[in-house]
């Protein structure tokens, strides 16, 4: 493929064997170079896809594992994964059965991803705080009733 040849000439000198193994990465880079910003930004524009990327930053995961937090069918998640793969943001592992997805960090805009991770971390804290505040409100009401009935 012409694009791949150009890349080989100007960039690394891969042996034929290594070129095969890296082909998928090269295809991803080709996509990036022909329409780089659009592909990445379109991929990142969706909150579900950003959440998938944030999850993968903690380690690779199978499609089932990725689908779990969303109220979404596996085919729907797979569509998102295809968009992320086309943009070169994730790749597939080689395990025959599972084909786990892993994050390809180079193309990512750092600001978007770490903010999403930071947000998820604090959202978990604040959800616990929500529950605690409910308890505190109940306790406060009980205390006020006790005070009135004296």
């Amino acid at each position: 493929m012409r694009g791949a040849q150009e890349l080989s000439r100007t960039g690394t000198r891969n042996s034929a064997a290594r070129l095969d193994n890296n082909t998928s990465r090269l295809y991803n880079h080709i996509v990036m170079f022909t329409d780089p910003l659009n592909a990445t930004f379109a991929a990142l524009a969706d909150p579900t896809r950003r959440a998938i990327l944030a999850r993968l930053a903690s380690g690779e995961a199978s499609v089932t594992e990725l689908a779990e937090p969303f109220d979404m069918s596996q085919p729907a998640i797979s569509k998102h994964l295809k968009v992320l793969e086309s943009a070169g943001l994730i790749s597939r592992g080689q395990e025959a059965q599972r084909r786990p997805r892993r994050l390809e960090p180079e193309p990512l805009a750092e600001a978007t991803l770490w903010l999403e991770q930071y947000r998820q971390l604090w959202e978990a804290n604040y959800q616990r705080l929500d529950a605690l505040l409910e308890e505190m409100k109940v306790a406060k009401k009980k205390k006020q009733r006790k005070g009135r009935s004296r």
Binding site: E106, L115, L121, A124, L129, M136
Partner: protein, 164 residues
């Protein structure tokens, strides 16, 4: 989602979080400043529990938090000093982690406003520099992303070059 958390970076040194709660701000303020209550919610990623929680709530007083991971006992501690306290609406303090992930101290500000029994929180952390802020936001997370806007621009602008 009514109470969704917003995280933004209005300047290159700050992280600002905005979140609403279905509770009067007096209760939110208490949850933020009472050790027994803090230990219930200020935990971070799953598996960590707060084993030390000390709060000396006065200007010039210190606070200290230590978390321990349930599986391997690894500890993470932080603390600081209060510089402003206006109950129930404002707290300003310094923040520093024991493991020096970052240079210097950060300054944390909490502002609580209440309307019709609901509280809006704006929590700001200001770091010494952009590099420090970006480093802190990534550290402590498993994995993390090792790239930067600069690198992305570099890669995109050097046409024909293969990055590895």
């Amino acid at each position: 989602m009514k109470n969704r958390l917003e995280v933004t970076t209005p300047t290159d040194r700050e992280i600002v979080m905005k979140r609403s709660f279905d509770a009067p701000r007096q209760l939110v303020f208490e949850a933020y400043t009472t050790p027994a209550l803090l230990q219930r919610w200020l935990l971070g990623p799953p598996g960590w529990s707060m084993v030390v929680c000390e709060v000396d709530l006065r200007v010039g007083g210190a606070y200290r938090y230590v978390w321990r991971h349930d599986s391997d006992g690894k500890q993470m501690g932080m603390g600081g000093v209060y510089s402003e306290i206006q109950a129930p609406e404002r707290i300003v303090s310094t923040e520093k982690f024991d493991d020096p992930w970052y240079r210097g101290e950060a300054v944390g500000t909490i502002v609580l406003t209440e309307e019709r029994g609901r509280t809006t929180l704006i929590q700001t952390v200001r770091y010494e520099s952009r590099e420090v802020r970006d480093g802190v936001a990534k550290s402590g997370m498993e994995g993390g992303v090792a790239t930067s806007y600069d690198r992305l621009e570099e890669m995109l602008s050097s046409k024909g070059a293969v990055t590895s």
